[in-house]
Assembly symmetry: C2
Homo-oligomer: 396 residues x 2
């Protein structure tokens, strides 16, 4: 049976030959001079719980809670970190606390490149009428409405997927965009006065938080030639179509393959709320894109990232686990369903991982200690002002 | 061609025989003395847009925006209301502004009854260790842990759906519940001090908003014999199992059929965020239950409810539309993707609808003017302190 030792002043270690050998073979702990292996608390808790190791404080055997109690004050997220560690180890894979890994060979994180095509704008001499509390505007000019809908897929001409009705209905993002980039004049239907794009943005922002972030992302993709429509039916802010899409182009209705969600840098979300948006996208088999707009260098913070993890590689037709000798893959961040994350925190983790040549692996412990994994990959949208990430659900 | 007339002082009406006859047959407008039909603005806008009606302000023909501009100031939600009206009419169904319907024959709204079975509690002389920042506690007593898991399905014994590990991990709701109703002693692992259930609730509330609402609902269903586990994988706060469920009872793993979401009365949510939770539940074919806990009589407000709607009925093997002569079905509330709703507002609408013998029909206009419908039905959980509703996605 494996034996491990604990002393509040010296930490946790193993020294007998049998234990030493077992730990070494399975990439637990760090070798020290003098034939000892030093263990991290997560490793020790795992060995006690799943490898039948006995843990000794001098001559007294101690259990999970007693050992953990020595570390819980200093390491407040201990249980969540332990649970993330446990799950990865349980899959037969290697995971190490971040401080103990020296990354010699970095992977190059190459973001997937999305196509871009400058939007061709023109001046339109037309008035549209803005319904300020409903956040829609209406264009009555039938031929222009049809053109804006068919050529650019702005607004909704007539009824959705039908050929009836002659009004072009534009939402607040489209209204602001057309005013700003196409010179469309926007008249407030309540008082007959014209409104500038910035005035509309300001008015909507009063009623709907984070409108500026939403518009910033809308504009960014529109200017790169993408069609950006509501993602309401898919639980996200937007669904997007690649440059060149039009509702009238093909015989068949085109289906979007991507949804785009905006996570404002000031917003704090429960992990469960954040994951819900990703979940809907997966349920309908769309790629989930995340944006944290308007980030500045000074925004970045040092968010705790917990482990470096390895996966499996194919050698001679067999899948074998990667070890510390391989290039590290993921920066694992252990969080729980009931804690918060902000746009800035997420972006900071992503920046840190990139500098280390790693992808971000979010490990979410639910209230039943079951874990869900998401991998975050940076993408490149040439000409864009912001950073975007694809988020994939991952089963190790 | 239909002709309608508008005068800022007199309102909107139709008077020629042909128009009168068409409107009467299709349940548009209200008959007035002197052979006129008075029209609501939503009706007039619909007739202009989809029935080719011409609208006259004295000798000048006016369009959608000009007519709407006379009403938009007084009726700020005009466009969203019009859009809800348009969609229902477009399906060949009858819809009337709420003020114009006199409900003579009320339907009786009988809530579905859920089974209940008082939970049998007992005193347990045991200590569990609370990890305050991770929001979990751990019970090391293996036989008691197994029993609490198998008999009550409290916590997670060992690994989810596996037979390994000997610890019972309890989340914060279970920890508080066991301390309160089973006399379990909870020791803070950081300082060795015992904590009362109210202290744990207070501590968690500081880190996670609305914990009190969450716990209230958890306790309510647990005391009625239900098993209440996290709904994380289904995008909701809880999944529930009917009284008698246990993880060990059957050979096969039991699947929950209901998810339960808590909408705290003080919380304001974007309609899109609210709908996202309902959407995930539908995607995985679960019944979505909503709770607005801790409501008091004085909380209720007068939230605008817009229309009364009718559906179809079967007469002699055919489906024909219901009219004002039939019992009204729904209180329609027109909202948009980008506006907010609070727990109190939702509960207030539900109470108003019930008093009128109607179900609530939420009509959500997305940013493309497409509409999604949800029907809210009250359910009865005998012995419960709170009100619960089933929410169904509806296609008229």
């Amino acid at each position: 049976m494996m034996q491990i030792h604990f002393d509040p002043k010296k930490g946790i270690w193993a020294e007998d030959d049998e234990t030493y050998e077992k730990l070494r073979k399975n990439y637990f702990g760090t070798k020290e001079k003098g034939g000892r292996i030093r263990l991290e608390v997560e490793e020790a808790l795992y060995l006690i719980t799943f490898q039948n190791a006995s843990c000794w404080l001098r001559k007294k055997q101690i259990g999970f809670n007693e050992l953990a109690s020595y570390f819980a004050k200093k390491d407040k997220r201990l249980f969540i970190k332990y649970n993330a560690y446990r799950d990865w180890r349980d899959r037969g894979l290697v995971v190490k606390p971040i401080d103990l890994v020296e990354i010699k060979k970095k992977r190059k994180i190459r973001g997937k490149r999305y196509p871009a095509e400058n939007l061709k704008t023109k001046k339109l001499r037309v008035k549209i009428y803005w319904y300020p509390d409903s956040l829609f505007s209406v264009l009555e000019d039938e031929s222009l409405g049809k053109k804006l809908f068919n050529d650019y897929w702005f607004g909704q001409f007539g009824i959705y997927k039908q050929e009836r009705g002659a009004l072009l209905k534009l939402n607040f993002l489209e209204t602001i965009f057309l005013a700003k980039h196409f010179g469309v004049r926007v008249v407030n239907v309540e008082n007959g006065k014209e409104m500038k794009p910035s005035q509309i943005l300001g008015q909507v922002t009063k009623e709907r938080e984070y409108t500026k972030s939403l518009y910033g992302v809308y504009e960014d993709w529109r200017l790169e030639g993408y069609v950006v429509k509501t993602g309401f039916k898919f639980g996200s802010h937007f669904r997007i179509y690649f440059p060149g899409a039009s509702p009238a182009k093909e015989e068949k209705w085109i289906h979007s393959k991507h949804v785009l969600h905006v996570f404002p840098k000031e917003q704090k979300l429960l992990i469960s709320e954040w994951a819900r948006a990703v979940r809907v996208a997966h349920g309908v088999k769309k790629t989930f894109l995340l944006s944290v707009p308007e980030l500045k260098k000074k925004d970045y913070v040092d968010y705790p990232s917990d482990f470096i993890t390895y996966r499996r590689k194919k050698v001679g037709g067999n899948w074998i686990r990667e070890t510390l000798e391989d290039k590290a893959r993921y920066l694992l961040v252990a969080v729980s369903e009931d804690e918060h994350i902000g746009g800035i925190e997420l972006a900071s983790i992503l920046a840190k991982a990139e500098s280390m040549g790693l992808n971000v692996l979010l490990s979410i412990t639910d209230r039943e200690t079951s874990i869900t994994y998401y991998v975050l990959n940076k993408i490149k949208l040439p000409g864009s002002r912001y950073e975007y990430y694809e988020i994939e659900w991952m089963k190790p």
